[in-house]
Amino acid sequence: MKKIGLDIGSTTIKCVVLNEEEKIIYSSYERHFSLIAKKIEELLSFLKTNILKENENVKIALSGSAGMGIAEASSFPFIQEVYATRIATLRLEEKTDVIIELGGEDAKILFLNNGVEVRMNGTCAGGTGAFIDQMASLLGVDISKINDLAKEKEKIYTIASRCGVFAKSDIQPLLNQGARKQDIAASILYAVVNQTIAGLAQGREIKGNVLYLGGPLTFLEELRKAFDDVLNTKGKCPENSLYYVALGAAYAADKVMDLSTLLINVKNYSSTSNFAYQKPLFETKEDYEKFLLRHEKHKVETLSLQEYSGPCYLGIDAGSTTIKLVLIDENKNIRYSKYMSNSGNPVPLIKKELETIYNLKPDIKIVSSAATGYGEEIIKSAFQIDFGIVETIAHFVAAKKFMPNVDFVIDIGGQDIKCFKIHNQAIDNIFLNEACSSGCGSFLQTFASSLGYNIEDFANLGLFSKKPVDLGSRCTVFMNSAVKQAQKDGASIEDISAGLSRAVVKNALYKVIRASSVDDLGKNIVVQGGTFLNNAVLRAFEMELKIDVVRPNISGLMGAYGAALYALTMQEGKSNLITLEGLKSFKHEIKVANCKLCQNNCHLTINKFSNGKQYIGGNRCERPITKKEQNGDLNLYSYKQNLFDKMIKSVHHGKRGKIGIPLGLNMYELLPFWKTLFEELDFEVVVSPFSNRKLYLEGQATIPSDTVCFPAKLIHGHIINLINQGVKIIFYPCMSYNIDEKKSDNHYNCPVVAYYPEVINANVKNLKRENVIFIKDYVGLHRKNNFTKKFTLVLKKYFSNISENKVKKATKKAYKALDDYKEKISLKGDEIIAKARSEKKQIFVLAGRPYHLDPETNHGIDKMISTFDVAIVSEDVIAKKVKKKIKVHTLNQWTYHSRLYLAASYVCNQEDMNLIHLVSFGCGVDAITSDEIRDILEKKKKIYTQIKIDEITNLGAVKIRIRSLLSALKERKSN
């Protein structure tokens, strides 16, 4: 009897028909555009008339996540897809040890030998094929071109592998810096590889015969090569690699089914419309028309360029996904404007626009010009633009034109959401999205185009939807899955369109601004950014806040318009802007290089222009440009790093041999304690080095939970590093409690810091393989009086001849070493503050946890901020200045976090100090502390700035944040 296997994935449907000898006699692979029932029906009808005999019975089974619902409702036998893969592999490629299968939404790894284990990616890492699709559209190429591009790679950039949204945050700025597309394409593929391994290997090594399955691995040879490279193996992509799931389903099919009945079932299958939905955007056409009328009022005229001969002012906003260019006259009317996708390299596009302007009006008088946005610097260098202006200020300038008394501006662009409050005519508080909520605007666009709509038509579809789908608001990866589920549940395109508009707005309001009502924002709100051009989004925003807002007709051009207005105010009579002649001989060369001037090893892209100017992107500090070493005098982070560097390098030979300590998490504060203690006990303490990318990658395969914070993930690399150094004893104790600084309700460590040694013990197999003694006992530094006795007991488990007396002496010195270290940094902190004050410099408290000292964790943010000529101190030394417990509205129970509250409250009373809160992605505790820190600061009219960091290395967004903060502070001062 013939057998049919169907595999219904998130984007495609695969089908195989096997004959009696189980040979493939038919196979097909096509996209289903979420019209699953219809596609199955078509497919089965086709098989019935073309492949099967009349009334022939078959065995059939269905597989794939998207097929689950219909299988149940239409009584198809269902086989889980990973399971099906395994069946097919055991039959066709029995020598396989490991299968790596990538699909549209899922990634899977199957280990077949020595204990079968199967892994699927968790919630956060969704969207493998979909991710490559999205990245391809970001590069403006189709997916097969990615493969061709990657072949010509010269270097690989570090791209965050936590998830698609994070990766995009790394890629976008690379594009804007002018990195080669070939290198970006290859880097995207390597990011997929790292994401798969970090998320799924979970401590098991991938070795032996590796099989590559699924669409992306079948179509992209370079992706397979990247896996080969990283895994140091030669995997195989077998014949029919696309069809393994379908084949497995077919092999496993054992129920004889009547195809005609099934066809009727599928025909009758109508999904349940059982999805969560919200209120419609507009109840009636009338409401909609009223709405349109109200918004038409807010506009700037666009007039003819040819008929005008007065002075012109040029504004360019080179944003993350789009470029906006506006030319205004002296009356602030628009004479020329352009809104375009930046397609990965803004330079040639702007060149073309400038040429167009010069050609339209050869005798044009451009008197002044300004640039803003991500690409501000490169554009300035390339075209000799006169002024640069921070994005937020540009937007504010433009918003004021439409609403002079504006007190809140929200801009939703492609990649970023920017909001700011205005108080006394100055920017008072800034909210910028962190990586997780980025890309909402462009997601809407990508989604529309994947369905074959342009964004405007797509958004309008939702205006009259009766049941806008609730898609959540966490991030676009989650939204993407939610859309697919909703489609399966019978939501229409209209419902999804409306749902997406609402999701974007909710993300901005509840995640980025953290507002729950309009009172948190202001009475006079201007909304802008390309995304607000959609009436659906605009309406969703007004509905959510229950207030009418102003949306300028040039909503998408506001940054450029603001820059043009700025150019007008700042004009000096003559512009340096490149001339038509200059444009004719314009040349742009890009070179890539690795900066070797410090341990951050920035990937630089060097842009050279024909005017002799050059622009370097990718750097964290000014060193590669000025060639001068940064002055670390006013940077406490540098000072601390130097202290740690000395500790790492100082070797004390001890009779008892080597004991290793991983430099991560709480060791970034306690190292002086443990190093002293063990040295006093006659050990040679080996400390792992500062983290770097390579060290991280060496440990990534042993990480069991992909959603844990990056600092914790790094520990794996440190342990491997110590093992590779030949250390046979590693000391990394569990600590529920931290030292009680008597200024909090309790003095816990967070669960991850407290118990990460348990995770290392259970997951880093090399420990056992290399016979390493791993000491992870529970210790309590908080009870000084009990410590000696308790710790002696621990040591006696592992070492002979250790007396309590000796430990007592060592402990005393250890506590002193810790106190000395803290005292040292406090003194240095005071010195920096005093120096900064004498030089009238701003002081930034870069407030994180001790482990944010690690250069791979903080990505050199301290150095980057230093380039703005400000002083940097850390939270611990500031917290010390507050002598007693302060009242907070949380349970103040974590030592590290209590310092943040203290530092915030101290900063409140210091005019020249501001706090920047460093948060690691996945730090659950900071979900609680960040609101409180914000409250403490805002009560005293201080600006709260949060920087969320993870693997993402690109500091573009952080730079904008810091610049915005600085310019807001400056404006406040001048008021």
Partner: protein
């Protein structure tokens, strides 16, 4: 109307006057248990109301008022409470909200503060919030835990654990659909009546009742064709609450599985034992230790009743003693690992595997901190030690998609079924 009284830190108190006038709302977690437990409050002249609301608006309300990166249980419990307050069903000047506080190092101890912040954001800061905890946090003049209260609560928990356990073991096999549910209802009502009247809280009475319950369930006519046995463990809220875990139990039953969800008593024992362990590891006062030991021994006596009774029946799974669970993780995780579900979560997975429930769904809120360690972090170690373990970790979150969750669970079930076939 009761006057609003604040303590010296500015916390709004639940006063004696309020006790008379106010209705106390508290969020749902484990249905069988909480239904019985709510009567314990009423026994002390509180007007307590358990919220049974469901639906997407609960999570939406939560997301609106709580930091979105907070764990899902906080979003749901706070969402459920605020949603109820805003529903118009209550006189908002005559309600108080109750929420538990474990006092441990995970975020859960902060839910109460997040709730207060949420109330403030919603303009409802005049509503008092009561902390239910055993750590001596946040005292209120109108709300005190007495020995009698604790005894009643312990009795309620044991009755709940027993009913849940027997239900899970009979329902999949019952000959006539619905028989088990009727028994659960009958006994729940019985305990509700008893606890309301402050009766049946002694260990002696508990023993008698559990014997009767067991016999009653054992009498259900069952056809015990082997089914796939699945254990559910995880962060306590998503483990028990259908709202938190997208009705996981229902889904597994539809997949023709017998489920086993370890009880709440074990968690309580674990939380008391933590204090004793802390004392051992780091030193500390004797009085606290003594108090814990007394409470511990009382709960252990209660536990022994469940062990004795279930051991008498072949058809029922033999209840494993707390100390047995503890011994299972001896070389796997340290006993100092106490935040959230701590080592108990790992121990429950091992105990389930040992008892034939090696197909396990390990539930956790997305980004749950203790679960990185004791759930996901321990799975591979358990697999090494117990090849029969077949564990899938599933994240729950407001934005997580049900299809993806169910697909992963189905994968685990497929492997389980294959193992079952090989065995038979």
């Amino acid at each position: 109307m009761a006057k609003l009284v604040y303590n010296k830190d500015g916390r709004l108190l639940f006063t004696k006057e309020m006790r008379k006038e106010y209705t106390i709302l508290f969020p749902m977690m484990a249905e069988i248990h909480f239904n019985i437990l709510k009567e314990v409050f009423n026994n002390f002249n509180y007007h307590a109301e358990l919220l049974t609301s469901t639906g997407p608006e609960i999570a939406q309300t939560g997301l609106k008022y709580v930091h979105n990166d907070t764990c899902y249980p906080a979003i749901l419990t706070i969402g459920q409470l605020i949603n109820a307050v805003q529903s118009g069903k209550y006189d908002i000047h005559k309600i108080a909200l109750l929420i538990t506080q474990t006092g441990g190092g995970c975020r859960a101890s902060n839910y109460i503060h997040l709730l207060r912040k949420a109330l403030k954001r919603a303009g409802l800061e005049f509503i008092p919030v009561i902390s239910l905890n055993l750590s001596g946090l946040e005292k209120n003049p109108g709300f005190k835990l007495s020995i009698k209260f604790i005894r009643l609560a312990v009795a309620g928990l044991i009755y709940g654990d027993a009913l849940m356990m027997f239900k899970n073991q009979c329902e999949p096999y019952e000959k006539e659909k619905g028989t088990t549910d009727k028994l659960v209802e009958k006994w729940s009502n019985y305990f509700i009546e008893k606890l309301k009247a402050s009766k049946d809280k002694s260990l002696k009475k508990i023993r008698k009742n559990i014997i009767n319950v067991a016999q009653d369930f054992a009498n259900i006519e069952c056809i015990r064709t082997p089914k796939l046995k699945v254990g559910i463990v995880g962060e306590i809220y998503v483990k028990y609450s259908p709202l938190g875990n997208n009705s996981l139990e229902k889904f597994l039953k539809e997949q023709d599985c017998e489920i086993n969800v370890p009880g709440i008593l074990g968690f309580i024992l674990f939380k008391i034992d933590n204090r004793i362990e802390d004392n051992k590891l780091y030193g500390g006062g004797k009085i606290k230790k003594l108090f814990c030991k007394i409470l511990m021994s009382y709960c252990l006596k209660a536990e022994k009743i469940l062990i004795d009774v279930t051991n008498k029946y072949d058809v029922f799974y033999n209840y494993s003693p707390y100390y047995h669970l503890k011994s299972l993780v001896k070389d796997v995780v340290g006993y100092g690992d106490k935040m959230g579900e701590g080592w108990l979560l790992t121990a429950e997975m091992m105990e389930l595997t040992e008892s034939g429930y090696g197909n396990i769904v390990c539930t956790q809120p997305f980004g749950c901190l203790p679960n990185h360690i004791n759930g996901k972090g321990m799975i591979r170690r358990i697999n090494e030690l117990m090849p029969n373990a077949n564990i899938v970790a599933v994240d729950y979150d407001a934005g997580a998609v049900k299809v993806n969750q169910e697909n992963r669970i189905k994968l685990m079930l497929s492997i389980g079924r294959e193992k079952l076939q090989i065995k038979n």
